[in-house]
Amino acid sequence: METKIGIFLCNCGEAIRNIDFAATKEEVAQIPGVSCVNLSSNLCLKEGKEKMISCIKEENIEKVVVAACSPEFKEHIFRQVLEDAGLNGHLFSTANIREQCSWVHDGDVTGKAVELIKMAVNRARLLQPVEKKKFAVNREVLVVGGGFAAINAALQLSRVGLRTTLLEREAILGSETAELGSLCGFDISSMMSEVEGDENIEILTSAEVTAAAGKIGDFTVRIRKGGDEASHKYGAVVLATGYQTKLALESELKSDVNIVSQKKLCRMLENPNLEIRPRTIGFMFDFSDENSRLPTLATLNNALAAKQKWDSEIYVFCKSLKVDGPGAEKLYREARDCGVVFLKCEARPRITAGNGRVKIEAKDVFLGEDTILACDLLVAEELLLPSEGTEALSSLLNIRRDSRGFYQDENVHLYPVASEKKGIFFVGGCRGDLDLSRVLTDVSSVVVSVYELLSSGNILAEVERVKVDPQKCVACLTCIRVCPHDAIQLVRVDGGKEVAEVFDLACDACGICAAMCPAKAITFQGYRDEEILAQVETIEES
């Protein structure tokens, strides 16, 4: 039996004047399968929509074609009308007879309008419904890491009612955070006692991930703790593994009492029994790596503290100060006001050590001449690197990293905290150099994203928007390789053959796999070859 197609024409409040609607109506009514044609002047308004619904119901229309304005403009309204009339929203095709027809031509364009409608009808005939289904999801969350970002993430997740496992590689939580706390002036102990007393948070220390599988809502992660290894199920995974720093020093130099890291300097500043106070301190940053926001902040904070506590002479050597973070410019001014000297150099200064002093030779661009500074202490340039194990964990979870090795691709279409794989998120230093308030912003955005996914225990998603024909699939793995969301995997079907299967929840309906499949085994509903070809053939015929 022929599919019943209903055509709804709209003359846009009679604003489309170069189309003869009476003639169009007559002509498109002849198309096989078209059971009714309606003309309206305000299809997108309440009255028009109501008429459309009652017509669909009365005539038992199965597929709908709307010939009106650009789908950019009102398509969502018409899809809703279909749903309201009890039809699947995907059984809808549109012919843009306003922006792409009436408005771009002078003179009568009835002929073109009729052709556009014919194309839409021929496509509509082949459309298939896409149903929605509720998928159950696991409400447990795994947070990897035990630092500032991880602890805050677990606490906030608990606040919205989600149970969390905190997995830390070290023997205790927050070993690095304690130093951070004293540096930035917040109370780490209350945060620690809160996380330890929270019944929604399970803490696993000296533990690590050894294997991971599954998709959003249903991840299976193998965790090794001590000698034991066990599998756990989670609905989402949050990575908060932080970063590490490495001193960027010439090969003949090494860190000692005169050449220190920012962290070492912090400890010296906190030590009330320090024997000798350094009288001259040199700082260096922004020569080997452009990503020096955190070294800039650390230098400014430490330089100020050293000025106050030791009243040292301080010289800062850098290429550019990275002040594009909250409060950085203010700190920079403060430091200058209290006498810290900033020397900007295009080339990396030469450093030599000997006789308990460090010599820094640089060409300062402002003075335009060579400068030599002999200092008691050099706070060396630090490189920010992904923490150990970042690479291993990213390959276990099959997620991409950026060109510096940190988590998250440089794709602007991703939320800053989201991975390309649904259900896996990043917070804090493991995705780039972020100051603490940005880390907290990350934490909050991850918490709400995870809450939306898991709080109700199930997710409503479209089923089989992308379909694989197991007969045609030759398991060439092309789709698995190109899928940016890791939503396709091989499964064994009856007869022992392996074929690709799309996991609906993880699929983002981008259509790349359908376009790439060499065997044409994958189809993307709404854009199947038949549907596109049916439109092309319509033009050929005329």
């Binding site: 973070g325 900007k344 909050s444 809450y451």
Partner: protein, 425 residues
């Protein structure tokens, strides 16, 4: 449930991000916007891709706005401002004033008949910009003959959907909401304040925003005075940032200037581009590589010029201090682009007074403490985006989502307390 409504003030990218996130979490949102169209500044930025994406994030904005406008949980009120606020976390009452726009958004089908028949010159009723959302025609009171006392109602008579209505007064309404998110954004620094740079006097001095809009509209760059392609362009950084009045870095100018410069170089390789700067802010995901790629083909000069003069031929003479030679130099350009920064919104002060929230020294809204960037001194009022301090598009989105998260957590706390009390009774 009253506490389940949230008011988002401002519909730029961070307000939209907040609203969408709340709506997706099942919260009903009123999204109010003082202008007639949604999107704020972010909607007017152009794509800066060459043959590869330059990751400027401008393309993320229209999709988000569209998604927000069609979301059934988000009620959009354009031309609206807050008049008064009372109550506290969980039950705020907000009085809103909505200025009439004379054309009903629900009824306007953008057919264009009104513009066609309007007798005023220039036309008093016209379409919004191409990318505007909602795409509803705009009736300009200042131009309309009817508002000048004449008895004209030709557009109303001709409107097929009867969307035009003249006899409208500002509409007052009171909303009950559990919490508010302030996302009122920023103002672009007015380059005229730096008189010596000649913006507004010399036609070939443009701002970065002007350039964004020219590329957005035309796709290429021509000089307004002779229609020719500029051959020698200077970008001046930190105009309205890091100076006596603005003690902060605007965080976006180095990025947009270098990306626009990259686009100019891509379109015409022999156009010379010079960037005058104080410190280059080249940190950030993917941006360091971008800098590496362009640092040979763009001339970078340390130090920001203080004066621009126009020569007899219409070119621009830029006076700057050449640090390497230690003297004042002159260089001639046919186009100078001022990389204007982010300044606090002019209406922030008024809004801060109505809502009872604090302003920081630099004029942006102040936060409760230095670490939390979303919370204000009032429980239940949160900040999102550049109204709290300069941010680029991805940071604004993240900040908007974080504000939504804080709101949900605060309202969740209220709800569980109420449930607790209920059990207690």
């Amino acid at each position: 449930m009253e506490s389940k409504n949230v008011l988002v003030v401002g519909s730029g990218i961070s307000g939209v991000a907040s609203a969408l996130e709340l709506a997706n979490a099942g919260v009903n949102v009123y999204l109010i916007e003082k202008e007639a169209v949604v999107g704020g500044h972010s909607a007017s930025f152009c794509c800066k891709a060459t043959d590869v994406c330059s990751r400027c994030s401008a393309c993320v904005v229209p999709d988000k706005i569209r998604e927000a406008v069609i979301n059934p949980r988000i009620r959009l009120l354009t031309n609206s401002t807050i008049k008064k606020l009372s109550g506290d976390l969980g039950n705020f009452r907000v009085e809103i004033t909505q200025q009439p726009r004379y054309i009903d958004v629900e009824k306007c089908i953008a057919c264009g008949l009104c513009t066609e028949v309007c007798p005023a010159d220039p036309k008093a009723v016209y379409p919004p910009t191409v990318e505007a959302t909602p795409f509803c025609y705009i009736l300009d009171e200042a131009l309309c003959l009817r508002f000048k006392g004449e008895k004209c109602d030709i557009c109303r008579e001709n409107c097929p959907t009867r969307a035009i209505e003249f006899e409208l007064k500002p509409k007052e309404q009171e909303l009950s909401v559990g919490a508010l998110i302030v996302a009122t954004g920023f103002d672009v620094f007015d380059a005229k304040e730096k008189g010596s740079l000649g913006y507004g006097r010399y036609p070939n001095v443009l701002t970065g925003l002007d350039l964004e809009q020219i590329f957005g509209r035309e796709g290429y760059l021509r000089l307004s005075i002779n229609g020719k392609e500029p051959r020698n362009i200077a970008f001046i950084q930190c105009v309205g940032s890091r100076d006596e009045d603005h003690g902060y870095c605007s965080q976006v100018c180095c990025k947009y200037a270098m990306k626009l410069a990259g686009l100019i170089k891509y379109q015409s390789l022999d156009t010379k581009v010079t960037i005058f700067y104080i410190d280059l802010q080249t940190a950030g995901k993917g941006f360091a590589q971008f800098y590496e790629e362009y640092k040979e083909s763009i001339r970078f000069v340390r130090g920001v010029p203080v004066e621009i003069l126009q020569t007899a031929s219409g070119d621009l003479e830029v006076r700057f201090e050449d640090i390497s030679q230690g003297k004042v130099c002159r260089d001639t350009f046919d186009l100078v682009v001022l990389s204007v920064g982010i300044t606090p919104g002019k209406n922030s002060w008024g809004l801060a007074r109505i809502l009872g929230i604090n302003l920081a020294d630099d004029g942006f809204f102040d936060t409760k403490d230095s670490l939390s960037s979303n919370e204000t001194n009032v429980d239940g009022i949160f900040l999102a985006g550049t109204c709290q301090g300069p941010k680029d598009i991805p940071d604004s989105v993240a900040h908007g989502i974080a504000a939504a998260s804080k709101t949900i957590q605060a309202l969740g706390g209220v709800a569980s307390q109420r449930r607790g009390n209920h059990r207690g009774h």
